[in-house]
């Protein structure tokens, strides 16, 4: 067997040649991969996270999505329809060119308008006009009052008017145009394999922590954990829940966890007299019981959220009583997690005229949220145990979301009870209120993800008012009030907030971010 003899010295040689990474190098094993280095090409978490290393935004979101100064040092509304942003002076791009208002103006022009973009940043820039006042002042104007201006502005990275604004997505991916003012500059991008960056020594903020940073996509969960254990990467994102327990016991590994801005919830069909997946106990058609608030409340009471968090999620989640975890802007302090109360639920069902329950199907994705299919199954069992005979139907997200949003022959949501999640990208409560709770209104862009077509004029009025109230305290009160009314009405049934887990080698930890981004400078010594 000559071949085996050949292999042995080869392996030995490679082992000695393998270089150990120094303390200044960071290698990250990622559960998902950016699709481009063009910061405007695809509004997608992994892309935005990579862009945050290379580029800066005018306003940055910190780990709990509070707004902090980035390339803008201050901002304020100067009248009902205009916001003024003062820019940071003395900042240079990684190619040495200076940063000023021209870069901002042309960045905001390019952002909504990238050819072939599968998901554009235009969503955040509709109806906004940017004008240069002087080299370090810009104005954003809108038609009416627009209090969430700063949240929207904080989503847009700033590229250079010399190298970035006229460049194509291809130029960015080749590295020629991927030049920002951020803490790291691009060294190498091999799609599917790695993104390598090095420290930007001229960074305007605190000195970036790492000399070199390498992002590696390792999408298979077990392989990602193995790569960490083998020392091939220093930190991994998206630790599979089944591995958390044994990694916690491993002394060479440190886990970092943090609540995300993502709530997992149920939407119920509240707009059809006859709902396609609701049947009487004899299998015949019945009037849609989910329109009755008491029935929705009963379903919410039948769900043992503690059991879901402890058993299905292995403790890695937080029970939810509203749209966002506490601490976020616009969250109500009055709402509690709905208690598990099967007797109360049965009484409510009887009161609503369904003492013997009915038949229902819950639909959910099986590859989108952490343990999504298992959660749907557990909920079906909980409902079935309390009189509502529930079947489960889960499917890949590529099939699911279209059907859940517009799958019926008339282009309406197809299902009766859906399991979905919502991450509040803007980091405040108007995001889920606008998209999930507000009455569906195509022209005004409301309720795009209102898959139950919940509609309540009182809630709509509160949301509409909040969206034009510039005063922060008054707006926060309005958003909280709208949430309270909607949850009281069981517009949706919140289940839990996802908790994200990162695992790092001993000596490092990650400052967990609610927006689920993995940033190089968030990896810090323990």
């Amino acid at each position: 067997m000559p071949n085996v003899k050949l292999l042995t010295p080869l392996i030995a040689g490679i082992v000695t040649a393998a270089t150990m990474a120094t303390a200044q190098d960071l290698r990250l094993g990622m559960s998902s991969e950016a699709t481009s280095l063009d910061p405007y090409f695809h509004n997608l978490g992994p892309n935005n996270a990579i862009a945050r290393n290379i580029f800066d935004n005018l306003v940055l979101q910190n780990e709990v999505q509070s707004l902090t100064p980035g390339l803008a040092v201050s901002w304020a509304p100067i009248n009902e329809t205009t916001w003024e942003f003062k820019l940071r002076e003395g900042v240079t791009f990684q190619d040495g060119s200076a940063f000023n208002a021209d870069d901002v103006v042309c960045s905001f022009k390019r952002a909504p308008d990238v050819p072939n973009s599968p998901s554009s940043f235009g969503t955040y820039l509709k109806g906004k006009t940017v004008t240069k006042v002087d080299d370090f002042t810009v104005h954003f104007t809108t038609e009416g009052p627009y209090p969430t201006m700063v949240n929207d502005i904080s989503t847009i990275a700033i590229v250079s008017n010399e190298s970035g604004c006229d460049a194509t997505t291809k130029d960015y991916n080749h590295g020629d145009a991927a030049i920002g003012t951020g803490p790291y500059s691009l060294v190498e991008y091999v799609p599917g394999d790695r993104i390598v960056m090095k420290r930007n020594d001229n960074y305007w903020g605190p000195k970036p922590r790492w000399e070199t940073v390498t992002y590696k996509p390792i999408k298979s969960g077990p392989a990602r954990v193995a790569a960490l254990l083998a020392g091939d990467v220093d930190i991994i994102s998206g630790v599979p829940t089944v591995d958390i327990a044994h990694l916690r016991e491993n002394e060479t590994i440190t886990l970092s966890q943090g609540s995300s801005n993502r709530v997992i919830y149920l939407h119920l069909d509240q707009f059809r007299e006859k709902s396609p997946f609701v049947k009487g106990n004899d299998g015949g058609e019945i009037k849609n019981p989910l329109i009755d608030q008491r029935v929705r409340l009963a379903i919410s009471k039948m769900i043992n959220r503690e059991a879901i968090v402890e058993r299905v999620m292995e403790g890695v989640a937080t029970q939810a009583g509203q749209l966002l975890p506490e601490g976020f802007f616009g969250v109500s302090s009055k709402l509690e997690v709905m208690a598990y109360d099967p007797d109360g639920a049965k009484a409510l069902l009887a009161e609503a005229g369904y003492p013997d329950g009915f038949k229902l199907t819950i639909h959910g994705p099986n590859d989108r949220y952490i343990n999504d299919a298992k959660i749907a199954e557990v909920i079906a069992q909980m409902l079935s145990a309390n009189g509502i005979t529930t079947a489960v139907d889960t499917m890949p997200r590529s099939v699911y979301f279209k059907r859940a949003s517009a799958g019926s022959p008339e282009g309406l949501p197809e299902f009766s009870l859906v399991l979905v999640g919502w991450g509040a990208g803007s980091g405040e409560a108007s995001s889920p209120l606008k998209s999930l709770i507000r009455t569906y209104d195509k022209d005004r862009g409301f309720g795009a993800s209102n898959r139950g077509r919940y509609s309540n004029p009182e809630v709509d009025a509160l949301i509409d008012k909040a969206l034009v109230t510039n005063d922060d305290a008054a707006r926060e009160a309005l958003l909280a009030k709208a949430t309270e009314v909607a949850i009281g009405d069981v517009a949706i049934i919140p289940l839990h907030y996802q908790v994200n887990t990162w695992a790092a080698r001993k000596g490092l930890k990650y400052i967990a971010r609610s927006d689920e981004y993995t940033l190089a400078d968030g990896v810090v010594p323990e």
Binding site: V15, T35, H42, T123, I218, A223, A226, D232, F401, G425
Partner: protein
């Protein structure tokens, strides 16, 4: 083929809802649908696709925004490198072991070889891959568990075979991919050898007083190679086209992983282009197999048959 793939893919799901940010409103969603050309009737989409395909344009990836063909060819190098290494391992390990087991069927070592080959056949690739990572990377720390190593260019070919770091990354995935093929080659070679050794021409060669090396190396090997080449040709195609599992476990940036991710995210143009390329590839491989036949076996040479 293109009809089947194109229409089959278009029945399933909807890529738009996979692409848009959840913050997008209905107007944004409609714009994406228009941009991707999905608002057109399916027949018109197909006609446009065929038109493009005839000019060598198989469409743009929904997710990456660049040409599907370019995207695939960029990932092809990594996969070819993996597949050739696996094929080399299959031949270099499989044939000698198979010959040995065939020539000395009653020795203990032959039995060990044959039993191991059953394991090679029956253990699932993903499990073996993970076990290899656990043993060689996590426990022993000898080899890296993930990704492709440094590449270098030699004779115009850019590959990670030419660097030590690259080779160290290549060994585990290539061995994982080769395992099944090695077992296959061992069994084929052994069966061929045992049958071949009974044939008259072998007896005759021996009677002529030829050395064992010559009898086995020339007379026997040449005759048993034909079935092996046929099977390896087909298997090589599947090595290239469907090394999905290995590429996923080892985070190998090849086209198998591109395929599975494109399927999951409904990046239809990439899936269609991929399958078109694979069809072409299988045709080419089969042609090559036929050419190799004629080299190995004079009887199948058409020209001489005609004489």
């Amino acid at each position: 083929m293109s009809v089947l793939v194109f229409f089959g893919l278009n029945i399933i799901g909807d890529p738009v809802y996979m692409l848009v940010s959840p913050d997008a409103d209905q107007e944004d969603i409609d714009r994406v649908i228009r941009n991707l050309g999905l608002d057109r009737p399916i027949l018109e989409q197909y006609v446009l696709f065929v038109k493009g395909a005839l000019q060598g344009d198989l469409g743009n990836s929904f997710i990456f925004g660049e040409s599907a063909l370019g995207l695939i060819s960029r990932h092809m190098g990594a996969t070819l490198e993996l597949a050739f290494t696996a094929l080399f391992l299959a031949i270099a390990i499989g044939i000698p072991l198979g010959l040995y087991a065939g020539l000395y069927p009653n020795r203990m070592s032959s039995r060990v070889i044959m039993t191991s080959s059953i394991l090679g056949f029956s253990l699932p690739t993903f499990w073996v891959g993970l076990m290899m990572i656990l043993i060689f990377s996590v426990q022993l720390g000898w080899l890296p568990s993930t990704g492709r190593g440094d590449t270098a260019t030699f004779l115009g070919i850019t590959s990670s075979i030419f660097t030590l770091n690259g080779l160290s990354h290549l060994i585990l995935p290539a061995a994982n991919l080769a395992l099944l093929k090695v077992s296959l080659v061992i069994r084929l070679t052994r069966a061929g050898t045992r049958e071949g050794m009974q044939q008259d021409y072998i007896k005759f060669a021996r009677a002529k007083g030829l050395s064992t090396t010559r009898v086995v190396g020339v007379h026997l090997l040449k005759n048993i190679l034909i079935p092996i080449v046929t099977v390896l040709g087909l298997e090589f195609g599947s090595l290239i086209a469907f090394s999905v599992v290995t590429e996923t476990i080892f985070a190998w940036p090849g086209m198998g992983r591109l395929l599975i991710e494109s399927i999951l995210q409904l990046d239809r143009p990439v899936v269609v282009a991929y399958l078109m390329i694979i069809v072409a590839l299988f045709v080419v491989i089969n042609l090559l197999v036929d050419v190799v036949y004629s080299i190995l076996d004079p009887r199948v040479r058409l020209k001489e048959q005609g004489k």
